[in-house]
Symmetry: C2
Subunit: 250 residues, 2 copies
């Protein structure tokens, strides 16, 4: 048995999410089906994170085990050939030790959220960003975001469907910046609660629009009450950027 | 009668091209139909450039005449509301003098061509870039491109369907640079022949792959023969970026 670590890019638009689901297509199913066609073996893919329907991946990490020996590069090429026309691609494939686990060995996860801050409807970016017509004050968003950095009870920013044992998480970074008409929000943590990034982005957008005072983000956090959540941002603008592992070179 | 200048963004994927066509949807038809719904008037849209099926627009300029008086901002909002769900959006709308003409007053046109230089199939960028698996030498492409800058007979880089009276054009700028795995080619001229940008990009890509010597671009130009064209790049990577007019502020 050989364990292969994959780096995966995907357009989340046509999928119900990363994880295999009974009621619709998933990234996991696309990869596992491609792997079966290539290897003749049924294998289960484990990924660094779960993503919701419509959420995209730039550098998702995952692993799968194959009994027959394959050259890692040839396996990647064969998977990509079989994944067409699904908008899922394997960017890298490496042999890793048997105890390397894409989910459990992962020590850091990074997301980016893209807000298209403009009046005109989206065309080329449709499904790839959240369009917010009202002008956003990105600096105010960044300032208010800093109240969320650190170890906190993120109950306010957690989906009712969240399966995490605890609402306590340590947010390492939450940075907001403007690039032209795009407002970009970067979030980094060891792990996130279900809907945490979208919930944080939704509240920051309210601050950016002037509908929330900057202090309201900290107040919502302190309330530890989902009812105080202002807004859950749509999945379109969310991208899983990278997963980091202890052995990664700096 | 009032003349309105529009700045238009579009995803060219679902269209047969910018210009109205008998056999399929066009950007022109989408805008004219939206204008009819808004104004009750049949009007003809004139654009700064024509684009082929699959070619995108970031800042296409166009104009249309309306008899009923409309506030320019409200006209833009109404057009955008009616354009949905077509991936066409009006980014700006201004009243201009009656002798301002989107096509004939235009003194400069700029395109960008995006090559995704990677082995993995495209996912999020599908239809939005040309995927070239073989590593490209962007510096060699830039050097060989300089032979095309200036006033030349561009017969080699001209579609057989080109309707221009003369193959003589003055290319003001052709610059190639790499940004990560994207190779970006910017082209600027007063006007271009049909397929000129895609034909130039195709030959530059051959140089980038090492299949053409750098001098072959100049030789192909000098041959003034379409048969010497190496490759016509696909429409997916081509974007009309902007049109400039004498009265534009610098």
């Amino acid at each position: 048995m050989t364990r292969y670590a994959l780096t995966i890019e995907f357009d989340g638009g046509p999928f119900m999410g990363l994880q295999r689901q009974a009621h619709g297509p998933s990234i996991q199913q696309a990869i596992e089906d491609a792997a079966f066609t290539v290897t003749g073996e049924r294998t289960v893919m484990h990924a660094a994170g779960r993503t919701d329907a419509g959420v995209h991946g730039l550098g998702m990490r995952a692993h799968l085990d194959v009994t027959k020996p394959f050259d890692a590069f040839r396996l990647m090429e064969a998977l990509n050939a079989r994944l067409r026309p699904a908008p899922v691609a394997v960017l890298a494939c490496d042999v890793v030790p048997d105890d390397w686990h894409a989910r459990f060995s992962c020590t850091g996860r990074a997301y980016i959220y893209r807000i298209a801050n403009r009046r005109a409807p989206l065309t080329l970016e449709r499904g790839k960003a959240w369009q917010v017509a009202k002008p956003l004050d990105a600096q105010a968003m960044h300032r208010s975001a800093q109240a969320l950095v650190g170890r906190h009870d993120f109950t306010t920013f957690r989906s009712v469907h969240c399966q995490s044992a605890s609402p306590l998480k340590t947010l390492d970074r939450l940075a907001v910046r403007r690039e032209g008409d795009m407002v970009l929000i970067e979030a980094e943590a060891r792990s996130f609660l279900h809907h945490q990034v979208r919930s944080m982005v939704g509240c920051l957008a309210l601050v950016g629009m002037g509908r929330w005072r900057e202090e309201q983000v900290a107040e919502a956090l302190a309330a530890r009450d989902r009812q105080t959540l202002g807004l859950n941002a749509p999945p379109d603008g969310l991208y899983f950027v990278r997963a980091t592992y202890p052995e990664d070179r700096p």
